[in-house]
Structures are given as C-alpha cells and as structure tokens.
C-alpha cells in the first residue's frame, strides 16, 4: 500500500471521487494527521473532547467552544490588553529616585540605545502579534457567531492568523517580568503596577484562545454556514 506503481497513481489521479475505507467519502468527512500523514474518518465529538492520532499520538482536531463564548473571551482579552499596555508594569525606587516602565516604553528604550533588533522583536512578539490576533479574531467571530454571514476577507484573515499564531509570546513576557522583579528585589525597592496583574490575566486568556487551532475554526465555520 505504501508504494504505488505509476499505473496505480495515474488511475487514482483520473478517479476524482474519494473512495476510501470501502466507501465514497466527501472531503469534509476525512481528517489527516499533520505529523505522520495518516488519514482518518471524522467522528463527531462532544464539546471539550479531542481526537488523537492512533499512529503518532498528535492531536487531530477538537470540538471548539461555540463562537459566541469564544468571542466573549476575545473581547475580555482585548480590554485587558489595553489596560496592560497603558499602565506601568513596575515601578522601582532607589534612594528617592523613581523609575517606571510600560511594555512599549521598554521597546522604545531599546530603539534609543541602538538595539533596534531587540526592540522590534519585543514589539512584534508581545504587542503587534497579540493585538492583530485579537482584532482579527473579533472580526471573524462577530460576523460568523452573531451575524451568521461569511466575512469578506475570511480567507486572508484566517491565513494571517495562522502565520501569527507561533509568534505571540505574552506568557513568556510575563515570566520575563517576574524574573526581572526577583533580580531587582535585592538592589532597589520594587512596586508592582496594575499592568503586571493585567499581564497575568491576559496570558491565561491568550493561552486559552490560542489553544483553539485555525483548522478547528475552519471546520466550525463550515458547520455554521452550511
């Protein structure tokens, strides 16, 4: 089965209908494993259940939460994102001198001291990508979950979301902030700001939101709009 002869190949190419597992199946009834290329017939899952590949153990798909509850989470995350970026993360005091910084302030300092590459890296991973991610998700989820229409730029939006997924690193930034605080505690007086708590909540929300994969969103869209 693994080695097809060229005749078998051309025969399969001619035959446009899918004939697998002894039956004719439509595309939407099949699911493939991303890591080992095994194909399966899709079974319906209850909410919260996941399907795993039998061959390599990778996750195949899951039943995501309804788009409206996901939208609620995305909007919450967006509000907290605004708070986290408009207040100082931490304030330090050394012999009567105060100093404080926001996330954007830290990135800006990097530009000022000629480490623009580091500044861009921080800006992209903790500001631009999460912001665009949340806004695009809001756009898609509102138009499908509430208005039940297919958004105009659906394909483009979801492709951008797919490319951005890996590069959002708010939770890593949070650990970075905590390490910085512990480092500074011996040297100066550290006063955690509102944004620190906001980043804590934001990273939990973002981890949850990004656990919904783009292909699960596509499957759910097909189900909602068909």
């Amino acid at each position: 089965m693994s080695q097809l002869t060229s005749e078998q190949r051309s025969e399969l190419l001619k035959n446009k209908d899918l004939h697998l597992f002894g039956e004719d199946l439509s595309q939407s009834e099949l699911v493939g494993c991303e890591e080992c290329d095994t194909i399966y017939r899709r079974v319906d899952l209850a909410a919260g259940e996941r399907a795993y590949c039998e061959c390599c153990g990778a996750e195949l798909y899951r039943q995501p939460k309804s788009f409206t509850s996901l939208l609620a989470l995305v909007i919450t995350a967006f509000i907290i994102f605004v708070i986290a970026n408009s207040f100082p993360i931490v304030k330090v005091e050394l012999q009567g001198n105060f100093s404080q910084t926001t996330l954007l302030g830290a990135a800006w300092t990097m530009f000022q001291i000629d480490r623009a590459f580091v500044g861009i890296l921080i800006l992209i991973t903790t500001f631009i990508v999460p912001l665009i991610d949340l806004m695009l998700l809001m756009y898609v989820l509102t138009s499908i979950g509430i208005f039940k229409t297919r958004p105009k730029f659906l394909r483009l939006t979801l492709r951008v979301l797919f490319l951005f997924r890996v590069w959002g690193m708010v939770e890593v930034f949070l650990i970075g902030v905590l390490v910085t605080l512990v480092k500074l505690v011996g040297m100066v007086i550290v006063i955690p700001g509102i944004a620190l708590w906001a980043f804590g909540i934001l990273s939990i929300l973002l981890v949850y939101i990004s656990s919904v994969k783009i292909k699960d969103i596509w499957d759910e869209i097909d189900r909602c709009l068909s």
């Binding site: 399969l12 699911v31 390599c56 890996v166 970075g176």
Partner: protein, 253 residues
C-alpha cells in the same frame, strides 16, 4: 511453485509482527493543507500551483525544501550561539564602575548570591533550552538522512516526540531578551546606576528567532515517509529471501 506464490501473497497482505500500517494521505494522493487542514485531492502529477479549495493556501506534498532549510537555519543559529554566549548581555554602570555580564556570569552571580530559583530559570531558558533545541534539530536531521539511505531505523514515534519537544520549548528562551529589555528600561537612574543591553542580547534574540524558524520549516512527515519506505524495502527483501530458501528446499527434494 504454486504454493510459493500463495505464501508470498500472504506476506504482502498481513503486516509482520508489530509493524503498524495506517492509510496515509500520500498513498491516496491527498494533499493536506497546512493552514486549514483540509485534504485536497491531487489534480496533477506535479503538485505545483495547486491551491487549497477552502483557504487558497498553496499546497505542498511536504514542506518545500524542508531539510535543506532546516539545516541552513540550524547552522546559522549555531554560529550566532557563540557571540550570544561570549558577548555581554548587560552592561551595568554604577558608582563602582562598569560591569559587563554574559549569560553565564549572570547565572553564576545569582547562584552565588543565593537566588537559586532565578539562577535556575535563567540557566534553563538561556543556556539549556537553546542548546537542547539545536542538538535535537541536528539529531533529527542526521536521523532522517541516515534513515533515507541505510536500513538503520530510528523509532519514528520517538523522533516525532523530540520534534514536539522542540516546538513546545522554542518560545521560552525569549525570557532573557525580555529581562534585559526591562532591566534597561527600568534602571536608568542618572548618576546612580544605569543598565544597558549589550550586543549579546542581539545575537541571542537572533538565535531564538532562527531556531524557531528552523523548527517551523522541519516537516515531521518525512520521518514517517522514510520509515514506511524502509519497511516496504525490508518486506520485499524478506520475501525474496524466503522464496530463494523455498527454491533451494525444492531443488534439494
């Protein structure tokens, strides 16, 4: 002679021992879209310029030039790993003068001053994880190359597990870049102490980005492709061997 034929057929039908054989998309000429996961039927013999019917992403049988790209990125990251560890990450100016810290000297400093947790976190994120990533990626590249031309089989399950580890830990080495940026932004207290990000931070950031791109461009399906190809070759050889043995037995009789 007839007997021999039947036994050879049996060999083909049933997989031997514990060798798993699952139906694979490649065998049915289905192309999986890497963006939306839809299985598209292959339309031409060469896959070029075919797009996913659902999301219009360009389709590929495997990630294009997967192994070459990964190798190039791994080499670039390994080269940059040296300045990232040798050049100073932070430069502290205080009343006591200027002090330059590399990643390792920072870890040692915190270990000596009793902050074992911070020391361990920085060591894990900045030294252990990038090193582990580079080593695993090198191992996977070598394993795939060896698999493809000899019969030395690495367990494909364990290779995919290693790949999953690389994908998961990749982002966490960014911690040190964030720490340096925050320290620089916070400790700008004129005349008392200032901290500046050193050139090591740039090199280190580049290492993290390059290794992330490397793990993104590696396609774990190649491991399984080689595994199944080897298995088919093995089976072919066993069949040939058994048939010659049978042949010999027949001639002895």
């Amino acid at each position: 002679m007839k007997n021999q034929h039947v036994s050879a057929n049996k060999y083909n039908d049933h997989s031997i021992g514990n060798i798993k054989h699952y139906p694979r998309a490649k065998d049915f000429l289905l192309l999986q879209c890497h963006c939306c996961g839809l299985l598209n039927p292959q339309q031409n013999v060469d896959v070029d310029d075919q797009h996913c019917s659902r999301c219009h992403t360009a389709l590929h049988l495997r990630k294009p030039y997967s192994l070459d790209r990964t190798l190039a990125l791994v080499i670039a990251a390994s080269i940059l790993y040296i300045p990232a560890n040798v050049l100073p990450m932070t430069m502290t100016d205080s009343l006591l003068g200027r002090q330059q810290d590399t990643i390792m000297s920072g870890v040692i400093y915190f270990w000596k001053s009793g902050d074992y947790l911070v020391s361990a976190v920085i060591f894990m994120a900045s030294i252990f994880i990038p090193m582990l990533k580079l080593l695993i990626l090198c191992f996977l590249l070598i394993a795939v190359r060896i698999q493809s031309f000899s019969r030395w089989n690495f367990s494909p399950e364990q290779c995919t597990l290693l790949y999953r580890v690389v994908e998961f830990i990749g982002r966490w080495s960014m911690i040190d870049v964030f720490v340096v940026a925050l320290l620089t932004a916070l400790i700008q207290i004129q005349s008392l102490a200032t901290i500046l990000a050193g050139p090591g931070a740039v090199a280190f950031g580049a290492v993290v980005v390059l290794t992330m791109f490397a793990s993104l461009s590696f396609d774990p399906r190649i491991i399984w492709d080689n595994y199944y190809a080897n298995e088919a070759r093995d089976r072919q050889q066993t069949i040939e061997k058994t048939s010659t043995v049978m042949h010999m037995e027949n001639s002895i009789e």
